[in-house]
């Protein structure tokens, strides 16, 4: 038996792929998360109200999603509903997170694969880039920074934000501040579209070179967004069948009844499934569930995607294209939201802490994120973090099996396998710091 180990890069966190093969037959393909810090354990005993400061540190890439989910879980424990304005500002926060994340995944993580270089910093040296007469890398990093600026505006700082409070938000967004952000967003929107067009072209070239968009069997999909003008500060989860039918809609409280979770002995991250079936979360899940975005450019890209690939679409590399559509949507939606008055009331209400169990749900860039806290005597007695990447674990492994079979033969192994492993994992944009905490 031969064991092939592939260390991974251009993803968040520490993970590797291990493929076992014998006589050309693929025995297994494992996706191993190799780090663990132990948040679930060490937050036990913490004063509940400190959670929104501690849990963003689960992940510096997804800190905004954890911050908001944590506040929502505590509001659920304390039995309070934040004012409407606070919910809108949290949505702006999550849009900022989506812009930052999708730009990072598209340009820093996956674009180098399309032009065969080690990093975004080398993209400008390629033929694909020279055709465009501008620095792709510089523009890509500028688009990404718009997302971090938006998080700073609504959250106080772009990594580990502090402005979501139990009961609302620390403050509204004044007209002056919103207008400054609008100028930047409007300047960057066409740049993002131009980069995404270039990315789409590079992806077509890649598809022609390798002869596939990443074929695998269809799966179920899970997301917490709605079908029209998707919200990320959400309240329900949905599961879609491989045929595209909505199977179930449920609240985070019903999570354990709907989704199975199990640990594995070869990874510090667990795996989830739906009635024994493989699930997928992240961009492709949301796009398969979206009827329309309600914003011009994003709907244009959605139409183009649907006409080319149908609905539901299942191939692995579509995750990446869907991230581009969402990048454009998040920028357009942020422009819409900041054009409205976000300073019309006090966005914070008083509350009295109480003990109990609470759930906080948001749709993070990688899929639905749930925090579940048990509070006793004002302290955390138990905390569970149900992480989007964990929903994708089985799907990642099955897709890795497909590429392993494609490139491992009885008499040789095609070294394209190494690149294919990277492409498959990055398409799912896993976050290992989150998945293991």
């Amino acid at each position: 038996m031969t064991t092939l180990t592939f260390p991974l890069s251009r993803i968040e966190g520490h993970a590797r792929v291990v493929i076992e093969t014998e006589g050309g037959e693929v025995l297994s393909a494992q996706f191993q998360a190799v780090e663990l810090r132990g948040f679930r354990h060490f937050v036990q005993g913490t004063p509940a109200e400190q959670m929104p400061v501690i849990v963003p540190r689960i992940c510096g890439v997804c800190s905004t999603a954890h911050h908001v989910a944590s506040v929502k879980a505590l509001e659920n424990v304390f039995g309070i509903t934040p004012p409407e304005l606070a919910c809108k500002i949290r949505e702006v926060l999550l849009l900022g997170q989506l812009i930052q994340n999708q730009a990072t995944s598209l340009f820093i993580f996956t674009m180098p694969d399309r032009v065969n270089v080690e990093s975004l910093f080398h993209v400008d040296e390629t033929e694909a880039s020279r055709a465009h007469q501008f620095s792709i890398a510089q523009r890509a990093l500028k688009v990404r920074k718009i997302g971090t600026d938006l998080i700073t505006l609504a959250g106080g700082q772009f990594i580990h934000p502090v402005k979501a409070h139990i009961g609302g938000m620390a403050g509204g967004i004044t007209r002056e501040v919103a207008d400054r952000m609008l100028v930047d967003l409007k300047e960057m929107l066409p740049v993002a579209c131009e980069l995404f067009d270039a990315y789409w072209e590079m992806s077509m070239t890649l598809r022609d070179r390798i002869g596939t968009w990443g074929d695998d069997e269809p799966t179920y999909y899970i997301s917490a967004t709605n079908s029209v003008k998707p919200h990320f500060n959400s309240g329900h989860l949905r599961v879609l069948s491989p045929e595209g039918d909505e199977k179930v809609k449920f609240t985070p409280e019903e999570f354990e009844k709907q989704i199975e979770f199990k640990e594995t002995e070869y990874s510090y991250a667990g795996q989830t499934s739906y009635q024994g079936n493989i699930l997928r979360a992240n961009s492709l899940a949301r796009i398969n569930m979206t009827n329309e975005f309600g914003t011009g450019c994003a709907d244009g890209y959605l139409k183009r995607f649907r006409e080319a690939f149908g609905r539901p679409a299942h191939a692995i590399l579509f995750f990446d294209l869907c991230r581009g559509i969402e990048l454009v949507y998040a920028m357009e939606r942020a422009i819409e939201m900041l054009s409205d008055d976000l300073n019309y009331m006090d966005p914070d209400i008083p509350y009295k802490p109480q003990d109990g169990i609470g759930y906080g749900l948001v749709e993070a860039p990688r899929g639905p994120l749930i925090h579940r806290y048990v509070v006793e005597n004002g302290r955390i007695a138990d905390a569970q973090f149900i992480i989007p990447t964990v929903h994708n674990m089985l799907a990642i492994e099955r897709a890795l099996n497909v590429v392993a079979k494609r490139y491992i033969h009885s008499d040789h192994i095609n070294l394209e396998l190494e690149k294919a492993v990277g492409r498959v994992v990055r398409a799912f944009d896993p976050c290992i710091a989150c998945a293991t905490q």
């Binding site: 890069s9 060490f42 800190s63 772009f158 990874s267």
Partner: protein, 290 residues
Amino acid sequence: MEGKTPELPKFAVLQLSGCAGCEVSLLNASEWYDKFNLVYMPLVVSSHRVPDDVEVLLISGGVRNDEDAYKLQRAVRNVDRVIAVGTCAISGGVTNLGDRDDVREMFLSDAKRMHLPNLLAKTHPVDAFVDVDLYLPGCPPTPELFMAALLNPPDFKASGIVCGECGRRKLNDMRPKHLLGFQQGEVLPDICLTNQGYLCVGTSTRGGCRAICTRAGHPCVGCRGPSNGFIEKESAVWLENIKRVFERMTDIPSEEIDEALRSPQLSMFLFQFSDYAGGNRRIRSKEKVL
């Protein structure tokens, strides 16, 4: 980036166990792109080893497992300048909150896996294993601080403590009688958070962050660690100072402050304490801390 030549100094970023927040912050500081040749940083570059002739090595994250320790010792071998960045690399960080007997037991018994890096009993700071030339604390350090560490710009100035950058007014006649929880109560603009009864430790935390938390209305949690006045002393001195500040500025009973600062649960948010609270760690001289 454009026009990059091979003569640029080689720059590497070693990521140990952490949240990648430091790396994300570094990516937001764009001024270094043209001044270094980034040869290793798994988040951004597909290269799986630190080359031999690296000029500047940033290390983020703490040493949580045996693979972290191995990678760290290998990476620093031929490096000119080693910079430890972020709370995890410098003090073990938020993860080190688990350095309590009850947690350690629960954690280790629950975390055995085949063929995976073995977890250590606690998260160690980087300098428990290798020598560090510069410490850049913060959770995470801001892009501005990263630039100050990498490029040493002549116009970079930082206040000694967070209060010097906060801009909130300290009042003599506003003396709360009890501590407020972090999330409880309204935050008045422009007035010192200590005056409002929040457990803010900006008075003894090193400046340079531009007080982004307190200006946004959130008490300072001390992520930049002790200011130069305290950094070469034991953590007890730092804690005593925070207590004295509250005695001077508020009517909160000192037992209440004491409990809040010393109980392992309540002091969790001050995660620098996990390392500064004693032990036989080497003193870090203030000249080495940015």
